[in-house]
């Protein structure tokens, strides 16, 4: 099948793929590269389940075309743990039971990691505003906020 040839870097690995011009980066990740960690919730940039980092910026991968990733750096949830060792945020999400169905979790983790890198000691309000682009219909958010606060504490050392 013909398509646009794209070379990009995903989680530090050089990756090449062919995609159609109207295919989103989320479609490419999930359907072509079998990286199904990023989820599709709304597909219109409202829910944040597809959050990835693109050249160091938090974005919804459903609002990025696959072709746009050419020459850029993508970071997904698959790159968050260091081998078998979970990132502190991942561990704290489990400890605090900050998830139920889990569909929003990868997006929350990516967004929370970005938040803590920019602001290692956020207030509860800053966490809630910072994660306003991620929707969760199970937890009521409280446990997510607690998990992020706890992870922030640990990461500050």
């Amino acid at each position: 099948m013909s398509g646009i040839a794209v070379s990009t870097t995903i989680n530090g690995d050089e990756v090449e793929y062919l995609c159609q011009p109207d295919e989103t980066l989320l479609d490419v990740l999930r359907d072509r590269l079998e990286m199904t960690g990023s989820k599709e919730g709304c597909g219109t940039g409202d829910c944040g389940a597809c959050s990835v980092m693109l050249d160091g910026r938090l974005v919804c991968s459903c609002l990025v075309l696959g072709a746009e990733a050419e020459g850029r750096k993508v970071e997904t949830i698959e790159g968050m743990a260091d081998g078998e060792e979970l990132h502190p945020l991942q561990r704290k999400f489990i400890e605090h039971a900050a998830l139920q169905c889990g569909v929003c979790t990868p997006g929350f983790l990516i967004a929370a990691k970005d938040l803590l890198e920019r602001n290692p000691d956020p207030t509860e309000e800053e966490i809630r505003f910072g994660l306003a682009g991620n929707l969760c219909r199970c937890t009521g958010y409280d446990k997510i906020v607690r998990a992020v606060q706890d992870a922030a504490r640990e990461m500050r050392g």
Binding site: G43, G45, L54
Partner: protein, 286 residues
Amino acid sequence: MRYERPDSVKDAVALLAGAKENAYLLAGGSDLLVRMRGGYIEPELIVDIKSVKGLDEIVKNDKGFRIGASVPCVAMGEHKALSKAWPGVVEASNLIGSKQIQGRCTIAGNLCNASPAADSVPALVAAGAKAVIAGPSKKRRVAVEKVVTAPGRTSLEKGEMVEAILLDKPSPRSGDAYLRFIPRTEMDIAVVSAGVALTLDAKGLVKSARVALGAVAPTVVLVKKAASAIIGTKLEDDALEKMAEACAAACNPIDDKRGTIDFRKKVSGVLAKRAAKIAYERAGGK
């Protein structure tokens, strides 16, 4: 659908001008991709301008700031000099969508999407911002309020694109502010919004002002009578009241589930008053 990624404005414009139909510019994509997915548009050609050199930069010079068409709004908030010079514009730009949307959306796109409720536009209009429009035969600069002509429509001609937004270096003793009403605390579309920019004289009286309202008419409205109501004053209550009346009179809103006509008219004045007070304080007024 064809996807093109030109590396110059000239090539981008040539692609847009040469397209038979349905050619769309892709900057941040936070409106375009949503409309594609919703089936509202079926582009034949998408011209991605993120590889065009210079359009991804905020340039500060002695005249002011040039914000390239592919600069994501989050980068405006990170730009210290811009945030200091035009805090209202930066606040408005940083209210658009979530952090995820902020990483993509642009003010040039917010303008060209031509929504009456666009957050950055009233702030830009109040600030007297200009759009640099590149076209097949010439470049032109127009006041931002001349770009949008109706909901979803702009004055851009075939082959034209906004390549940057220009903001002047503020005069001494100037300040701006933007406020919007939404029924939630974040991630919502303005029901009413107001941008105010003003400059004070040495005595602290308002020397010049611009007041712009969003979401209360088919396009953002620059309300000259609201500005004249506060010029020559220190924003005393009666001056602010006159300004609020002028705002309400300038509204031509719709009644919808998000706000009634009466509500929008009233709130336009309330927000303009509050924004004027913030701008006044930022200008150093007491």
